[in-house]
């Protein structure tokens, strides 16, 4: 096949092009022709198709995501907002922190180990591209039913991949989530979060400015892996390849204008990424970089068009110079390749030599592939012939935007009417005791140690809190003890019952978790995992969830700084529960004042903060005991969340509490069990006036936490709660080696521990 140059395209307007196979709609293809005033070349078509895919263009979600900016609360902390690789937050003392969560769902289903591993790799490069040193990762995960055979294939691979990549990079894993629900069967969610730290003056943005500046591609060679990963794996034409345990598993191949079919799964090389990090931080430190962009989805197509459209000039790239792992790659394939562990930097000519020298020191291949030009076009050449000549903004930012139809699903009313309060409750203390054990042993409530022990939480020597604490906490300055805390949460069951409230509850829980550690919540990142946007019901869920999240962020004063949308998490007609995963970042001036979750000291008083109502819709109890999902999720009260956070932070700062643990799924008994097991101490609980034992133990009312108060601090602590009008109820004391609910039952710690810690090893070891 002869080369499809710009000149050739202009002269052959009627040549048929595989736009449909590349996932473009007819009107989208027409728009490209209008933009260019001719038919696109094969290379241009490849670029537009990947960049206009759902994954890169956010074409279905954009109109809704806008609210995060429009409704953003005024925040002094926000240094860089939505739109860059990741948002940047001021945490004081001249430090800035950047963090972001992203999905790698489909690839992790096809190849669990590599899919999850490259998910970590991708998010780490995003953080690095902002100018920050990555300092920790987290991994919110969702799997199908714990006892489903395919979960046995997917989970161990995903966990090994996250560990394999993150451990090898030397990034501590400080938290995450593991949730099992059959709605994720065939559509597991693998989200990955990374946080990085820099000085204010080190913030770098992805833009190519300054005529004559050189464009340098560095890192791994470009290969044929992952080509079409973007357009195939994230477009509506995606049909699930069967997992390797069933026949006919080659749907990952993707038709391309190029010669061969290439698999859409990439293999990660964490060692290469580690070198890339060290090398990039060194070029930052010497101030050699004018603009920088990581290569993720859509590879060079994305990096060049985004760099060029953010800058003031144009860009010229000679594609022949790109170092290849496979010499047979066509220019289209080079542009679309998603080979991992690559970055693209814009460097002033006088700095190029030094830049290349540092790359050589780290054994990182670096090549000048082009330069910033005076015009406003992105021009790409192959063997001296021009194959791309486009306005870069039309590729990177001016893709199609859809306002897709949405409709509240017909079943929503019936679902909400199916009230969990009507479910049969335990008949007496014996049954109550038995249900407590069943809940704490259920896969969602059970200890996740079997998973988290596969992650290095110590590396870098700054981990102050890590799993199973409410939030992970990292020290960022060894002299002053400044630190940050992060938690992620998202309850798909709540969101299914009410997506608006569900998204708010996800934020509320994450916010509460951060506050429980003693840190002050500052900013939000989110990963919105949903089914197909072409289903009006799903689109309604999406619209409601984004609206709920944006409204709640405004109320809590925590702006969304960035995130990610993952759609088409669906097999046939059945979509996953709407699953907005929300990450909250908080700051703490002195990490030595952090509040851990463990009850460690006999005699300390256990206080329940907040109000408890009989709220069981979407609860762990309704799921585990009755296999039920219906009713309404817990009531949202953001003012209460804010008040609770203020009290937790003040109590931590002033040394009034020794332990705190937020209440969420599983209710009070789950939280107390976890705090007791962590500290190796029992608790004697008393059911408070006005509550029955069942509601006291299992209700999932939001805005609550339990704390352990040293006796000498009791008066000061309760005075503070009273002064601020936060209900604080003394519900027990840390004591003995059993959890005892007076007048109800006693559960020895050993028995609780066996129930809580045995489940995951029994399923997966």
């Amino acid at each position: 096949m002869s080369l499809d140059t710009v000149k050739h395209a202009a002269g052959t307007p009627h040549d048929a092009q595989p736009w449909a196979e590349l996932g473009l709609k007819e009107d989208e293809y027409e728009r490209i022709r209008v933009i260019l005033g001719r038919r696109p070349t094969g290379a241009e078509l490849a670029m537009y198709s990947v960049m206009w895919s759902e994954h890169c263009s956010y074409k279905s979600s954009k109109v809704h995501l806008k609210q995060f900016g429009e409704k953003a609360p005024a925040s002094d902390a926000l240094l860089v907002g939505i739109g860059e690789n990741a948002g940047v937050v001021d945490v004081g003392q001249g430090y800035a922190v950047t963090f972001k969560v992203e999905s790698h769902n489909h690839p992790s289903y096809v190849e669990p180990y590599q899919g999850a591993a490259t998910g970590i790799g991708g998010i780490v490069r995003d953080i690095l591209a902002m100018g920050a040193r990555p300092v920790a990762v987290m991994d919110p995960l969702r799997f199908g039913a714990a006892d489903h055979p395919d979960t046995r294939r997917v989970l161990p691979g995903v966990v090994a991949g996250i560990g394999g990549y993150g451990n090898c990079l030397g990034l501590p894993n400080i938290g995450g989530e593991v949730v099992f629900d059959s709605c994720y069967q065939g559509n597991p969610l693998v989200n990955a979060l990374c946080v990085g730290v820099m000085r204010h003056e080190d913030i770098h943005l992805a833009k190519a400015s300054g005529t004559g500046n050189k464009v340098i591609l560095y890192g791994a060679r470009t290969g044929g892996d992952g080509i079409g990963g973007v357009s195939v794996l994230a477009s509506e034409t995606f049909s699930h390849p069967s997992p390797p345990t069933t026949p006919s598993g080659d749907a990952t191949h993707h038709p391309l204008p190029g010669p061969a079919k290439r698999p859409a799964v990439q293999v990660g090389d964490p060692f290469q990424e580690k070198l890339l990090i060290e090398c990039t931080l060194e070029v930052f430190a010497e101030d050699l970089v004018a603009g920088i962009q990581d290569l993720g989805g859509a590879g060079l197509s994305c990096a060049t068009s985004e760099l060029a459209s953010a800058g003031s000039g144009g860009m010229r790239v000679d594609l022949d110079t790109v170092p290849l792992r496979d010499a047979s790659l066509s220019p289209e394939e080079i542009l679309m390749s998603e080979s991992q562990e690559r970055m693209c930097a814009v460097v002033r000519p006088e700095n190029v030599d030094r830049f290349l020298e540092i790359c050589a020191k780290w054994d990182v291949i670096a090549t000048v592939i082009g330069e910033v030009t005076e015009g406003d076009r992105l021009e790409i050449f192959w063997h001296g012939e021009q194959i791309v000549d486009v306005p870069p903004r039309t590729v990177a930012h001016e893709g199609p935007v859809y306002r897709r139809p949405l409709a509240r699903p017909a079943w929503q009313d019936a679902l909400q009417a199916d009230d969990a309060a009507a479910l049969p409750r335990p008949a007496g203390p014996e049954e109550l005791r038995e249900q407590v054990l069943r809940l704490t042993a259920s896969p969602n409530q059970a200890a996740k140690t079997w998973i988290t022990d596969q992650y290095d939480r110590y590396v870098l020597g700054n981990t102050v809190l890590a799993q199973p604490e409410d939030g992970g906490m990292i020290r960022i300055d060894e002299e002053t003890n400044l630190g940050v805390a992060i938690a992620t949460d998202g309850n798909g069951r709540y969101a299914k019952l009410d997506p608006y409230a569900g998204a708010q509850l996800a934020l509320a829980e994450s916010y509460r978790n951060v506050a429980a550690t003693g840190a002050r919540p500052l900013a939000v990142t989110d990963c919105l995992n949903f089914g197909s946007p072409e289903d009006p019901a799903v689109m309604w869920q999406f619209a409601e969830a984004t609206r709920g999240l944006a409204d709640a962020c405004r109320t809590l004063g925590t702006p969304v700084t960035g995130g990610n949308v993952s759609l088409y998490n669906q097999t046939g007609e059945s979509a996953i529960h709407p699953t907005p995963v929300v990450g909250v970042l908080g700051v703490i001036d002195d990490v030595s004042r952090r509040t851990p979750m463990a009850f460690r000291t006999e005699g300390q008083l256990i206080y329940l903060l907040g109000d408890t109502a009989g709220e069981f819709g979407g609860s762990a109890w309704s799921q585990v005991i009755h296999g039920h999902l219906g009713g309404l999720p817990p009531r949202v009260d953001l003012e209460r969340e804010r008040l609770l956070a203020e009290v937790l932070i003040a109590a931590s700062r002033d040394g009034m509490i020794d332990a705190a643990h937020d209440l969420s799924d599983g209710g009070l008994i789950q939280a107390v069990t976890e705090s007791c097991l962590k500290g190796g101490r029992g608790a004697r609980l008393v059911v408070p006036e006005g509550l029955d034992a069942f509601t006291f133990l299992f209700s999932e009312s939001a805005g609550r936490a339990v704390v352990a108060v040293p006796r000498g601090e009791e008066v000061r602590f309760t005075d503070m709660c009273r002064a601020r009008s936060l209900p604080a109820t003394r519900v027990g004391v840390v004591d003995g080696d059993a959890v005892e609910v007076q007048g109800q039952f006693t559960l020895p710690l050993a028995e609780l521990r066996e129930a809580h810690e045995h489940t995951l090893p029994a399923l997966f070891a």
Partner: protein, 225 residues
């Protein structure tokens, strides 16, 4: 004069900063050494830190063993230079035959990160003098290939000569023969272990501060030498 303790950075080293921090907390001066530089810059002792040198591809420590700096370190170690290999560093010491045996894939096949209880079996080495023999300590353990193996003859010899320096207590985390967590060479200047003492030097970030005596031991030894 302050004591200078070199910490080598290989491509893929991860716990080099942590080791340097521990050296500093112990009162010595950490000196960064680079894998490609043969020169040891007059250090008095060397730490080979944890991590995934060269990605730990092929076998852990197998590629790092052939780096320029290792040539000098191997020669120095034979001449009495105190050398401590932690985790990946231990693997390098075995690969370069400064210590006998090999480290293999954990028997349960998973990477494991946990707080590990150990017994100090030999308090006479350059790196353990500040412990008491039989002392029990807790430090983090984190590795995927930490199962110590050697033939029976070698194991018997290690036991007989008191060269098993650390043993796992309570639970053998990786299938190591005879619960061996760390060993030394006959002269006691070269010590390798899988657990990470450098992650147990501050109460705020470690499970204990039980790791600090490693670093004070070598300091004392060098000052008194």
């Amino acid at each position: 004069m302050t004591t200078r303790v070199g910490v080598v950075t290989f491509p893929g080293s991860l716990d080099d900063r942590d080791a340097a921090r521990a050296v500093k907390l112990a009162g010595a001066e950490p000196v960064a050494l680079w894998h490609g530089d043969k020169d040891l810059h007059q250090v008095d002792a060397v730490i080979l830190p944890g991590g995934f040198s060269y990605g730990d591809y092929l076998r852990c420590g197998a590629i790092a063993r052939f780096s320029p700096v290792m040539e000098t370190i191997i020669a120095g170690a034979r001449a009495g230079l105190p050398v401590l290999g932690i985790c990946n560093g231990f693997q390098m010491l075995c690969e370069s035959h400064l210590l006998p045996g090999a480290l293999t894939r954990n028997d349960h096949l998973h990477f494991i990160c946990r707080d590990q209880r150990l017994r100090v079996e030999n308090a006479g080495t350059a790196w353990t003098a500040d412990y008491a023999e039989g002392q029990e300590i807790t430090v983090p353990l984190k590795n995927g290939e930490g199962g110590y193996v050697a033939d029976e003859g070698t194991l018997d010899e290690l036991e007989a000569e008191g060269r098993v320096v650390f043993r796992y207590l309570e639970r053998n985390p990786n299938g190591s023969r005879r619960d061996i967590a760390g060993i030394c060479n006959p002269a006691g200047n070269v010590v390798g272990l899988m657990p990470h003492p450098e992650h147990a030097v501050e109460a705020l970030t470690g499970p204990t501060t039980d790791g600090l005596p490693f670093f004070t031991s070598v300091l004392k030894k060098l000052v008194s030498a």
